[in-house]
Subunit: 332 residues, 2 copies
DNA sequence: AAACATGATGGAATCGTTTCCATGAAGGTC
DNA sequence: GACCTTCATGGAAACGATTCCATCATGTTT
């Protein structure tokens, strides 16, 4: 038995210690067939030497890493934090390592990160995508199993997605605001919110409210951009009476901007925000929100991406819930 | 040239296409010496075939993965979210993939995740540790480069750490509260906050305030545990006049519990919270906080762990800042 | 012109595993 | 007892890169 120096214990050492061939050790350790007696000898030897199989060797041979790669726009946003937690908890129970990347909602960066993943021979990716459909073509052609979470690039219907029910969420919120008498309702959105915007338009149309294009603004992913958009909206159109914010960062910006301009909630302006976050209750007044099952989205996406059948699966749509708190009031 | 089926382009294909040996291709691609003419031929062939070297083969040969593993207690906590963002942004500029794991502040889970990393032959780890010093012995013996962030297990002084200046942060906050007249100041802490607690005790002692052990409570990492601790504290000791919360989750719990018990801020009770978060300004009154450079901690830790010299380096201590807002008032 | 230094080059070994295949022993059937 | 099936077993070939080393051509020195 070699003791000197830094010598990683390999399957060869175990084989030698147990007096068998490497093939047998491999078989025993990965649950193949072997006589009970041999199995015990191998197991004993492995335990005695404190043998840990190297993922490197295995991965090379099997030409896959078995891990999961996760791509989110911004890990600082608690929504994505919770989504990530969902992925991690599912991956953990399967013993799979998770690689993570933040795209900052930049398609170029996204493509680059996908490249890194390909290089690493990752074979499963969960992504909150920001690029267009073509961004994902190389990944798919390389045989990756991809699952989209939270949103999907328009036109990529060949990849399953786990989404929250944006359509119904928007409709419920807008109907709620309309029910309070609001007519000039603004939508403060972020990148990649096509479906929500469509739902916003459709709902207004169904309610017989004509859409005012100036009341639909869109910010980039960053906090300052969100604030600028919100502030601009309030200043440019002081006649609006309600805002639907398409995410917690945007909601935060809206509240901040309103406060800065001395608009009181809910007297001067009503706000509904997508995504329930802990501070929504701490805010004064507490914020009315559309809660999304962020963690569940992550968990299900992870489940899906680890199933063999991931390639051909229908989308999963999870329900949202309007939590009425104190940030909405009747039209002034 | 083989076209049929799913065939990963390997270095062999490039070598054949360029009419050179694999060794030459490898040399060219990793910046070794080669004649300009050959170099060009190889590069052209590689580009034409869209060749991407497999990290698997390289890693096995070099017996290291080159990635960074990151261990945080809870990715849902924005503090760790920002820390993670720091790590990611540094890793990205170096082109290194990042693996992430959430320990939930559970030493057992931590040990298990370290095991996973070892199996993957990760050779660099950044961790917000929760286990004791021994948890890290196997990792260090296996030759991993480890850097602690945010805190360190007591007694593991052979591993460099990137910390915020807890000692001064606590002192500044407590002195501020004492200056407002407070004497019965509570500390609401979480796991692994030994240094902060010591600083709390020391500062009180220096100020001539006798420490009341009942005013020091500690919660587990979860939100409900934090709330229970905060609520219990207020109910059990209605005579306290100020609370120092050791993290944003604990601060949130304190505000929530105070509100639930109809304690008004800052009239009935003053609160200072560790960690500045976006909602601290949205709270009413806005929260006075001790800001920590979470993102910078992550970035520096990543820088450190990628340097060769990481093993023998002094700790990095980053400054905190007391941001006085509206949650503290004179003793009632 | 012979000896030598230099530099480009390709073959082959290597990393640690899984897996294919050949071998041989044991047991069952006619 | 010959034959076939079943099963455990170990040697060796992958996987895709890096890197050692021998070879060979070229240019330099004496």
């Amino acid at each position: 038995m070699k003791v000197s120096g830094h010598h990683r214990i390999t399957i060869k050492d175990v084989a030698a210690a147990a007096g068998v061939g490497v093939a047998t050790v491999s078989r025993v350790l990965s649950g193949g067939s072997a006589s009970p007696e041999t199995r015990e000898r191998v197991l004993a030897a492995a335990a005695r030497l404190d043998y840990r199989p190297s993922a490197l060797g295995r991965n090379l041979r099997q030409r896959r890493t078995g891990g999961i790669a996760l791509l989110v726009p911004d890990i600082t946003d608690t929504f994505y934090g919770r989504l990530t937690e969902g992925v991690l908890s599912c991956a953990r129970s399967a013993g799979e390592p998770v690689m993570i990347g933040a795209t900052g909602d930049d398609p170029e960066l996204e493509a680059e990160l996908i490249g890194t993943f390909l290089e690493q021979s990752v074979d499963r990716v969960i992504a909150v995508p920001c690029g267009d459909a073509d961004t994902w073509t190389p990944a798919l052609r390389a045989g990756l199993t991809v699952v989209f979470a939270h949103r999907r690039p328009p036109g990529r219907d060949d990849v399953p997605a786990v989404l929250s029910d944006d359509r119904l969420g928007v409709r419920t919120a807008v109907e709620y605001l309309a029910g309070l008498g609001h007519r000039r309702i603004a939508y403060l959105g972020g990148p990649g919110q096509g479906p929500r915007l469509r739902a916003f338009r459709d709902t207004l149309a169904a309610l017989g409210i004509t859409l005012d294009d100036e009341l639909v603004v869109s910010a980039r992913a960053a906090r300052d951009s969100a604030y600028a958009a919100a502030s601009g909206l309030f200043q440019h159109r002081p006649d609006l009476t309600a805002v639907l914010a398409g995410g917690n960062v945007l909601g935060e910006a809206a509240v901040l901007a309103a406060r800065e301009l001395d608009l009181r909630l809910p007297r001067d302006v009503s706000i509904v925000m997508f995504d329930d976050v802990p501070w929504a209750e701490l805010c004064s007044p507490p914020l009315t929100v559309i809660a999304q099952p962020a963690q569940d989205i992550g968990y299900r996406a992870a489940e899906l991406v680890m199933r063999e059948s991931a390639r051909r699966t229908r989308d999963t749509v999870l329900p949202t819930e309007l939590l009425v708190r104190g940030s909405c009031g009747p039209r002034r």
